[in-house]
Every structure is written in structure tokens, then in C-alpha cells.
Amino acid sequence: MKKSKLLSALKRALITEESSIKVYSQHITEIAPRSGLSDEQISQLTRVMSDLRAESVHHKEIVTALINKIKEDPRDDI
């Protein structure tokens, strides 16, 4: 696979994950009080959000390290 293609795919994956977290957190912060969701549901959603954020940080570390390694690789095809 071409190095540039691989790098852009990895960067894209990171961006997509960040976008989804942004969308979810926007929705969850917009949930108006007393509008159908119970406290239990809201806390469950908040838990899902914090898990996603933690996962995303973890993914970002891994993917960034991978990107750096690929960049250091002198080959054009990996």
C-alpha cells in the first residue's frame, strides 16, 4: 500500500472518530431536563460518552504513534 494512502486513511479514521464524539456530546449536552429521558438513561448515556472519549484518547495515542512510525519509514510502499 502506498505510504501516503495509508497515512491519509489513518488520519481519516481519527477524524471520523472525533466527529462522532463531537456529535454525541452535542446531543447529550442538549438533552433538556425532564423531557422524556430518565435520570438513569441520562447517566447511562453520559457513561457511554465518557467510555467513548477514553477509547478515543487511547486510539489517538496508538494511531499517532503509528503515523509517526510510518512517516519515519523510508519506503514508499508499505
Binding site: S35, L37, L45
Partner: protein
């Protein structure tokens, strides 16, 4: 109070409300036929009685839904884990949707934790009709770039029959029997041979949460004849937008007890988005009904008639945006009303031919759903009666005020209390529910127009609900509301003058003045909704 006792109490309250409503209705009907009246008074009185009967019928339907929803012996397990992960197509149907709205939805598709997912954007935009429109051709390219960037497959077809035509062509394509003009561009991964087993359908502005699919697929896998599972729609732009706020609360009323009640006896109808279908079920009935603007509702009927079942999954697992101004909201409501009444005609036709194919409870649910939008006429009649009495002296309610108060007040308050208490137990505030109801009443002219168009088979071009814009309707387009408001105001003033000069008729006049005032206040809320952006509290 124990949970069991609370549930019994929630079942008892609607049961009492139904009985009180029936007492009111019987006494009201008997009193009407005991009075002397002119023929034109009789016409108005019968229209009012019919309007009230409609409300009573739908009210009883709602109360029965509460009883069924709270008394379910085996409610659906919301945390069911799947034993296997059959292929699932996750699709968003798009017609000229803004790219930022699509991008958010596609990002959420990518975040779905279901391991065996195939992601698709079904683009229904009619590029071929406007080959010289540069902006549209640019948009076409941007959609492709977005799909490539988000790693989502892109499906396009030769346009026909709106969303239903699009999804049907997609299903045919997946079943390796593509219609001419259908094209699939692979940006994620190629579909499995013969297509996916299930299809999750979303509107462009509906964003599923990561764990959306697993419990639903688990239930679908357990029941072979289960055609689809519907999940709720939940708007989150309600704290900043008055229209979305009220529309969201209207939705909530539907997605709480009404849907739970339907789901409890296998009569849930598809609502077009946030729903998972079994592909075999759709292929069995020849796909989505293409000649209805509410293809989801029409398709549900066909599935049930073909002995497929359906469920409701009462957990919010996708978030979306409600219509952001009155113009968008009215377009949405017009489309729903037009489609529902169109399907109502089919329901009546099917009932006459295949009544024994479905249980009575299913037919009742379909008739209630199919007739709901006739409510526009109900509001029209109820709004006109106090004005006719106060301004023209035409009575429509033939009962002594004492009898009116004795039967109507318990009926009115008990049904209202049941309504608000049961929704209150589901975390809704009275103020919010009221706003939802007021918006419904103010949609009456739209419903009336849609019902007439549907009954006369008038075809209207499909219009999507606009997103990302909040514009006020010019006052000139609200003339009807201004006129009705002015009529009610005139009736109130004239009524008060009559009370002063004819104190012997004070009681019936007072009742009508109160109703005119009530209608005047409700009509004036149109100006509140016509200023859709709310300042967000810090």
C-alpha cells in the same frame, strides 16, 4: 409505594377516565336529542357531537394504550445480547440533504459498535433532471468525496417514487437483481453475496448511538416472523428552538404510551427512521409501498396482512433534529397527514376485504392511526361553536349549564389528569406537554388541507423537512390565524356585553366566553412559535 402498586394505580386511573368519559358521552347524546331546535342548530350540534366523539374515541384509545403499556407481562428486554452478528446494512436515505448534516450521521454510522455492519448513503437527489445546474453537479461530487472520506458506500438509482423507490432499488441491487440505472460505489466494503440479512434505516438527521444495533438484532434473531423493530425518535434541538421543542414533545406523546401499547400486542407501525427491518420480510411483500408519501405506515399494514409481526423498542438510541421553524414543521405535518389519510383509505379497503386476516386490536390501532389527522376538522368545529353562539346566537350544546358542569368537568379534568400524570411519570413537564398540544391545535388548517387533498386524491410534490434554517413565516401568510384570533376576540367582547345586558343568560354565555378566550390564547401562540430561536440559558 412499591413498583407493583404504582403500576396498578397507573392502570386504574385511565380505566376510571374511560368510564367517566363514557358517562359524559351518553348523557351528552341523550340531552341533545331531548331538546327542541331549528334545523341549522341541529346541524351545528351534531357536528359538535361528532367532533367530541372523535376526541373521546382517540382519548379512549390512548387510555387503553397506557393500560396495555403498563400491564405488559413480558416487556421487551432492552439489554438483550446477540448470540451472532448477521450482516446488517445501515442506510441513510438522502434527498439534497446538507453535507454537514450527512457528515454527522455518517460519522455516527462509523461509530456503531456492531461488528458486521455495511454502511450506505442512499442518494436520491435528482441530478439527471437538472444536468445544467452547476451547484447541483458540484453537490453530487461533494457527496462522493464525503462518502470516500467517511468510508461509506454510495448508492444511486434512476429516480422514482421518492424514499420507497430508493430503498426498494437498493434492496433489489443487494439481492443481485439491480434495476436499470442503479449504481453502487464501494468506499467501505463490498456487500455480502445476496445482500445483508437486516437493514437499519435512518433519516439524514438521525444519529444512532454506538450500541444501537446489538439488542435489536438480538430480538430479530430470536423471532423468525418479526419483520421490524421500531425505536423512538428523540429531538435534541429542543432547548434552543420553540418549534422543535413543541414538535419534540408531540413526538414524545406518540413514542411513549401509544407506541408501547401498540408494541404490546404486535401492532407497532413503522415510522420511517430509526427502524431495523428483516430484508426477507420486505422482499416477501415486494418492498416498500411506493405510492404513498408515508410509505412506512403503508408498508406496516402490508407486512401485518402477510402475517409478519413487529415490535417497539422503547429506549432512545438515536438522536435527531426536529423541524426548526413553522414552515418546515407544517410541511412535515402536511406530508404525514396526507400520507396517513391516504393509508386510511387503504385500511378501509383492506378491512372490507381481509377483515379476518388481522385481529380486531390491529384493525382498531390502524383505524385510530389512520384517522388521527381528521383532528383538524375537530378543532375547526370546536373553535367555531362558541363564536357561532356568541356572535350569531346559534347554540350547539343543548344542556343546562349545571348538567354541563356536572358531567363535563369530571370528564375533562380526569382525562387531563390521567394524561399529565402518566406523562409526568415519564419525565415530562406539564408546561412542555401543553406546548406540544398547542402546536397541534395550531396545525389544524394544515391537517384540514391535507385531509381534503388526500380524500380528493390530489397529488403534491414530495417536500423534505428543511434542516439548519429557522425562518419566521411572514405575517401575510398567517392571515387565517389573525382572522380567527380577531373573531374570538370579538366574540369574547360581544359575549361580555350580552352578559351585562342579559344577566338571565349569563351562565351559557359565560361558558362560551371562556371557550372563546381559551381558543384566542391558543391561536396567539402561533406568534410564539413563529419566532423559533430561543435564547439558550447559560
Amino acid at each position: 409505594m412499591s413498583m407493583r402498586r404504582k403500576i396498578r394505580w397507573l392502570q386504574l386511573l385511565p380505566l376510571v377516565a374511560i368510564n367517566v368519559a363514557l358517562i359524559y358521552f351518553v348523557s351528552r347524546t341523550v340531552l341533545l336529542f331531548l331538546q327542541d331546535y331549528h334545523w341549522y342548530e341541529y346541524v351545528v350540534a351534531v357536528l359538535l357531537l361528532l367532533a367530541e366523539s372523535f376526541l373521546l374515541l382517540h382519548g379512549c384509545g390512548y387510555m387503553l394504550s397506557i393500560i396495555r403499556a403498563t400491564g405488559q407481562a413480558n416487556p421487551i428486554d432492552l439489554d438483550q445480547k446477540p448470540k451472532s452478528f448477521p450482516p446488517l446494512a445501515v442506510v441513510v436515505a438522502s434527498y439534497k440533504e446538507p453535507l454537514n448534516v450527512l457528515e454527522e450521521t455518517l460519522a455516527c454510522f462509523n461509530a456503531l459498535s456492531y461488528p458486521n455492519k455495511y454502511l450506505y448513503l442512499l442518494d436520491d437527489t435528482r441530478y439527471a433532471d437538472h444536468p445544467d445546474d452547476e451547484a447541483l453537479q458540484r453537490y453530487k461530487k461533494q457527496v462522493e468525496e464525503l462518502c470516500e472520506c467517511m468510508e461509506v458506500n454510495l448508492f444511486r438509482h434512476k429516480w422514482h417514487d421518492a424514499k420507497a423507490g430508493l430503498i426498494n432499488d437498493f434492496l433489489l441491487h443487494q439481492a443481485v437483481n439491480p434495476r436499470e440505472g442503479s449504481v453502487l460505489k464501494i468506499f467501505q466494503r463490498a456487500p455480502p453475496l445476496g445482500g445483508e440479512k437486516y437493514i437499519a434505516i435512518f433519516d439524514a438527521d438521525q444519529n444512532p448511538m454506538p450500541g444501537f444495533a446489538e439488542p435489536i438484532i438480538a430480538h430479530m434473531e430470536m423471532e423468525y416472523r418479526l419483520a421490524f423493530i421500531q425505536t423512538p425518535q428523540y429531538y435534541t434541538n429542543i432547548s434552543t428552538n420553540t418549534v422543535a421543542h413543541a414538535a419534540g414533545l408531540q413526538q414524545a406523546i406518540f413514542y411513549e404510551f401509544i407506541c408501547e401499547g401498540k408494541g404490546a400486542h404486535d401492532a407497532m407501525m413503522c415510522c420511517g427512521t430509526n427502524v431495523v427491518f428483516r430484508n426477507d420480510a420486505l422482499l416477501d411483500i415486494g418492498g416498500f409501498e411506493e405510492h404513498s408519501v408515508t410509505e412506512d405506515f403503508a408498508t406496516s399494514l402490508r407486512l401485518h396482512l402477510n402475517e409478519w409481526s413487529s415490535r417497539y423498542f422503547p429506549r432512545v438510541c438515536a438522536f435527531g433534529l426536529g423541524p426548526e421553524d413553522l414552515s418546515g414543521y407544517f410541511k412535515q405535518q402536511y406530508r404525514w397527514a396526507l400520507g396517513s389519510v391516504g393509508v386510511f383509505k387503504e385500511i378501509a379497503h383492506n378491512f372490507s376485504e381481509y377483515a379476518r386476516y388481522l385481529p380486531v386490536t390491529h384493525w382498531v390501532e390502524y383505524f385510530l392511526a389512520g384517522t388521527y389527522y381528521f383532528i383538524g376538522f375537530v378543532y375547526l368545529i370546536m373553535g367555531a361553536c362558541p363564536i357561532l353562539y356568541l356572535l350569531l346566537g346559534v347554540p350547539s350544546y343543548f344542556a343546562k349549564p349545571e348538567i354541563y358542569f356536572l358531567t363535563f368537568i369530571p370528564y375533562f379534568f380526569l382525562t387531563m389528569i390521567t394524561f399529565y400524570v402518566t406523562l409526568g411519570r415519564r419525565n415530562y413537564r406539564i408546561r412542555d406537554i401543553l406546548l406540544g398540544q398547542i402546536l397541534t391545535v395550531n396545525s389544524a388548517p394544515v391537517y384540514v388541507r391535507a385531509v381534503i387533498d388526500a380524500l380528493l386524491n390530489r397529488k403534491k410534490p414530495f417536500e423534505v423537512t428543511p434542516k439548519g434554517q429557522s425562518n419566521s413565516i411572514p405575517l401575510s401568510r398567517l392571515k387565517l390565524y389573525l382572522f380567527c384570533g380577531a373573531l374570538n376576540l370579538a366574540a369574547m367582547i360581544w359575549g361580555l356585553l350580552q352578559m351585562y345586558f342579559s344577566p338571565e343568560r349569563a351562565q351559557p354565555i359565560l361558558v362560551n366566553v371562556l371557550w372563546a378566550t381559551y381558543h384566542f390564547v391558543i391561536i396567539n401562540f402561533i406568534f410564539y412559535f413563529n419566532n423559533p430561536i430561543k435564547v439558550k440559558k447559560s
